[in-house]
């Protein structure tokens, strides 16, 4: 390659002959198609490109959380010849974070392209953040490669015209919205809902996207919505103004924000003396971070406002994902925690975030199965991504997170849990109802 660039024009034909002879000896120049790699045992190599945040464990899809699951999944696939015969799977990893440790939608496409050029992957695993997934998802659609993730919850990804390569084996906000529609129907609230959410526009905007899911689904069920946006970064939150707005525009209020802000809102609500029976607040806490204590007391912070908060939280119901109930999941989490400690020196707590790791595990297993089926039909080298993706959609698979049911648009049906204050004296919250997405 380098030699051909240094030759000028108008050289005698003898040189050309010499060049041809030389080239026939030398290594092959860069190939036009991805090389078919075989390892020592003659197994064809399947390369997966992983793009996830390397260090920031605040993200449920960060590498220390998902890495152990991925290692385990690949180990299982490679060990069992029935799962993917004649192939060996390995992965290559690139970080999606910028220097500040935030997942970056400008860095992600750069590393995606680098990975594509250097390794010619068969599929992309991740990213998890919405904006990052968007830029990588556009590329995988352009390249015709499957993308498997348990993150990327925004409803924008449901649009198969733009993102038809993404299979989501984790929870999405479209399903959250559908749960809200179900709740409204169940309680008979058919008219209006108020959506309150935090948005500082500079991070990945998780609360905004959750509210967007609610907005979209409630809207298509003919329920009008009004929205109130908080921004904790722009100075002290004007709770008095918000309470005025709540009084005027809503009785059913969905709130997506940080726990501390929500608690302050409820304390202010109680202090304002509004009639509590007329209002209901649904706190969207999908990973149940406010319910970590055992027994669950989401109003308790240990400060002077606790009694007021306890009273205020009588009007609060909390929406979370539902932890998978199957026995394989418990075993998976135990293994996950041990592997994370061993491989990444990361101590993982028991939390609902682990179901994202489970989602990635199931995603990879599902991909392997779909790949196996596609190869069985056509054989040959790397099959077109469209075929594999299509095979992953509109099907059911039993994985570590229980029944993985992928709908016809590549989104997973998920279960939700509704928590309520069951004992007014102690203020303990418990699951009062479960929504079975499947």
């Amino acid at each position: 390659m380098g030699l051909s660039c240094q030759l000028g024009r108008g050289k005698p034909p003898l040189l050309l002959l010499q060049l041809l002879i030389l080239l026939s000896w030398g290594p092959d120049p860069a190939l036009a198609s991805p090389p078919e790699r075989r390892d020592r045992a003659g197994l064809r190599e399947v390369v997966l490109a992983v793009i996830l945040p390397r260090n920031n464990t605040a993200y449920p899809w960060s590498w220390p959380r998902v890495g152990p699951a991925l290692e385990r999944a690949l180990g299982r696939i490679n060990a069992d010849p029935a799962l993917l015969p004649a192939h060996r799977v390995r992965y290559v990893f690139e970080n999606s974070e910028n220097e500040a440790g935030i997942c970056s939608e400008s860095i992600a496409p750069l590393v995606a392209v680098d990975l594509k050029f250097s390794h010619s992957p068969w599929a992309f695993i991740g990213p998890g953040c919405d904006y990052t997934s968007s830029s990588v998802g556009l590329f995988t659609t352009h390249w015709g490669l499957p993308m498997v993730t348990a993150g990327a919850p925004a409803i924008g990804f449901y649009d198969t015209n733009v993102y038809n390569s993404i299979t989501n084996t984790g929870p999405t906000h479209k399903k959250l919205g559908q749960f809200a529609v179900h709740l409204q129907r169940h309680f008979g609230w058919r008219r209006h809902a108020l959506l309150m959410f935090s948005d500082n526009k500079v991070d990945d905007r998780p609360y905004y996207f959750a509210a967007e899911g609610l907005y979209s689904e409630l809207g298509s069920d003919n329920i009008t919505t009004a929205d109130l946006v908080l921004n904790e970064q722009a100075g002290p939150v004007p709770f008095a103004t918000f309470l005025q707005d709540i009084k005027q525009s809503g009785r059913v209020v969905y709130v997506c924000c940080a726990w501390d802000t929500f608690r302050q809102l409820m304390v202010n609500f109680r202090k304002a003396g509004l009639p509590q029976e007329e209002y209901v607040f649904f706190y969207i806490d999908v990973f149940g971070r406010s319910l970590d204590s055992r027994p669950a007391r989401p109003w308790a912070k240990g400060d002077a406002d606790d009694p007021i908060a306890k009273e205020a939280f009588r009007s609060v119901k909390i929406v979370t994902y539902r932890e998978p109930q199957n026995p394989e999941y418990k075993e998976f989490v135990t293994d996950l925690k041990a592997d994370a400690k061993r491989l990444f020196n990361f101590t993982m707590e028991d939390s609902l975030m682990n179901l994202i790791s489970g989602g990635f595990y199931d995603g990879v297993m599902l991909y392997a199965q779909a790949l196996n089926e596609t190869l069985a039909l056509r054989g040959g080298g790397m099959p077109p991504g469209k075929d594999i993706t299509k095979r992953m959609w509109n099907r059911t698979y039993y994985g570590v997170t229980g029944l993985v049911q992928i709908d016809e648009n590549g989104d997973r049906e998920i279960d939700f849990a509704l928590w309520d204050m069951t004992d007014i004296d102690s203020g303990i919250f418990q699951i009062v109802s479960v929504y079975n997405g499947t």
């Binding site: 030699l3 660039c5 240094q6 040189l15 010499q18 060049l19 002879i21 030389l22 392209v113 594509k116």
Partner: protein, 537 residues
């Protein structure tokens, strides 16, 4: 590769040849070995010759892969068909100046969006380009420049005019902007504001939410004015979503001294007509319109439409000043212009009278600038792969472009020259430049046509009360009408009260009489009951 010293050259080659010839007689017995050794000999000759090659040729000799990423769609004034002739012209010119540089130019469609990045990536799979020209659209350029900077490839664009591209520490480190950015244009306003001591401004712009040209233009103005302590207000319109409410805009104008607009020509005309109706064009307010690209295809910028409002529009536009790029005319430009127009007509695009816009000139100059910088970099011992060096060599320099002097500042952005045009002749409605702003020394030059009356704010009624109440406004009831109506109502009420009061009085009297009767009766009863109580006791 090692470079042999010239003295030893001949001897070393001879040595190689002799050693190979010695081996040959032995191999003669085995035919296979003979051919192998011949190949080996030839390969060694090849290596040796290639080593000598750069030493022998003293002139610059490089193959440059240029990738041009622009929209194919000819509705853009910087489409591939319009810019190609300019780049080909520049190639020829560069061929005369630097004979060793051979440019191989490829054009890819940016579609003014995500397609730009995909085109770049598809093209770079085998071999990455050495130079990227374009894209122009902001969002396309952002992605391409990030990728190119990551790959150490210099990018020159006559677009990417948004303020965000000024921050070249990390993401946009390899971008050189050959056309003046919106921030540079905004310097004109800063200079004017300082000169005339204006304090407050209303920025009106049309945000189409797709390419967002006027959004980015206004962002530049805001960034520049924001640094000083001016009072900046915004009014955002979305002509695609809603009809423009000129009445609402007029209400916002009252609080500002200066109005700066960026919108399509038709919308500007509507706003000026509305302002004229409300007598805002009498000199109490200064109106500006930003129309940068020197091309008639951005809509008819003048007041004439051929409709019934032309006369009013001409009067209104007498108060409108237009900020535009300064035009300089060189003899070489005429030749370039003729050739480019010929090629464009051959390509079948409509023959507009002013086809040579800032972008066409810019991409021509871009290629020349690169050739200049590369020539220098190679002379200093580096090569075309050193993107950082080449980019640095393009910054902080001045050279002769096709339309005049091109001065690139130390941040890799073009210093721009702008003109402020006003209506010189109110009879014919023609414009001429009254100010020239020179970016290179940030100086404002007053032209002979400057009339200080036009730019001095007249004493104006600070109240929101217009002098003539507009009865046709419907809901917009003026205060005077309110006072009149209130007075009428008050009078009516007083008169009604007067008449009604008489009735009321009669009623009171009657009631009082009755009451007296009743009270009398009650009193008697009470007295009776008391008596009876007493008697009981």
């Amino acid at each position: 590769m090692k470079v042999f010293k010239s003295g030893n050259r001949q001897r070393n080659i001879t040595k190689v040849y002799i050693s190979k010839i010695k081996i040959l007689p032995l191999a003669h017995k085995r035919g296979l070995l003979l051919s192998v050794n011949m190949s080996y000999l030839l390969s060694c000759c090849l290596y040796v010759w290639l080593i000598l090659l750069p030493v022998r040729t003293s002139a610059l000799n490089e193959e440059i892969e240029v990738l041009v990423i622009l929209p194919k769609n000819n509705s853009y004034i910087f489409s591939i068909s319009r810019v190609t002739p300019a780049i080909e012209y520049a190639k020829k010119l560069s061929g005369e100046l630097y004979p060793g540089l051979n440019f191989s130019v490829h054009y890819e469609n940016s579609d003014c969006g995500n397609e730009a990045l995909f085109s770049l990536v598809s093209r770079s799979c085998m071999k990455k380009p050495d130079l990227i020209l374009g894209p122009v659209c902001e969002y396309a350029a952002a992605q391409v420049v990030r990728m190119a900077s990551h790959w150490n490839i210099p990018v020159i664009s006559a677009g990417a005019l948004a303020t965000g591209f000024s921050h070249k520490e990390k993401e946009y480190s390899h971008l050189t902007r050959i056309a003046p950015s919106y921030l540079k244009m905004a310097e004109t306003f800063s200079a004017l504001f300082e000169h005339f001591s204006w304090k407050s401004v209303l920025l009106i712009y049309d945000d189409d939410k797709e390419e967002r040209n006027c959004y980015f233009t206004t962002e530049g103005v805001h960034s520049s004015l924001h640094l000083e302590d001016y009072n900046v207000e915004f009014f955002i319109i979305d002509s695609r979503a809603h009809k423009v409410d000129t009445e609402e805009i007029i209400k916002h104008i009252y609080d500002s001294e200066v109005v700066i607009m960026c919108a399509e020509a038709d919308i500007v005309r509507d706003i000026m007509l509305a302002a004229h109706r409300k007598r805002l064009t009498n000199g109490s307010y200064i109106f500006f319109n930003i129309e940068l690209f020197n091309s008639s295809s951005y809509g008819n910028g003048s007041w004439k439409r051929g409709d019934k409002y032309d006369a009013d529009a001409k009067l209104a536009y007498a108060a409108l000043n237009v900020v535009t790029l300064m035009r300089t005319v060189k003899p070489e430009f005429e030749m370039f212009s003729t050739e480019v127009k010929k090629s464009i007509q051959k390509a079948g695009i409509g023959a507009d009278s002013a086809n040579i816009n800032m972008f066409v000139e810019g991409f021509h100059d871009a290629l020349l600038l690169y050739a200049l910088a590369l020539h220098e970099v190679i002379k200093n011992g580096s090569n075309k792969k050193d993107g950082v060096q080449i980019t640095q060599s393009m910054w902080n320099r001045t050279f002769e472009g096709i339309a005049g002097q091109v001065s690139i500042d130390e941040n890799g952005d073009r210093n721009g020259d702008f003109s402020v045009m006003t209506m010189a002749d109110t009879q014919t409605g023609t414009y001429e430049a009254v100010f020239n702003y020179f970016g290179i020394n940030q100086s404002l030059q007053m032209m002979p046509g400057f009339n200080s009356d036009r730019f001095t704010l007249r004493e104006r009624h600070r109240a929101h009360v217009p002098e003539h109440p507009d009865k046709s406004c419907g809901l917009g009831v003026s205060a005077v009408t309110g006072i009149i109506v209130g007075a009428l109502l008050g009078t009516a009420l007083l008169m009604a009260f007067y008449f009604f009061r008489k009735n009321y009085r009669i009623t009171i009297e009657r009631r009082t009489q009755r009451e007296e009767c009743d009270i009398g009766k009650h009193r008697q009863l009470r007295e009776d009951s008391i008596r009876s109580n007493f008697s009981a006791a």
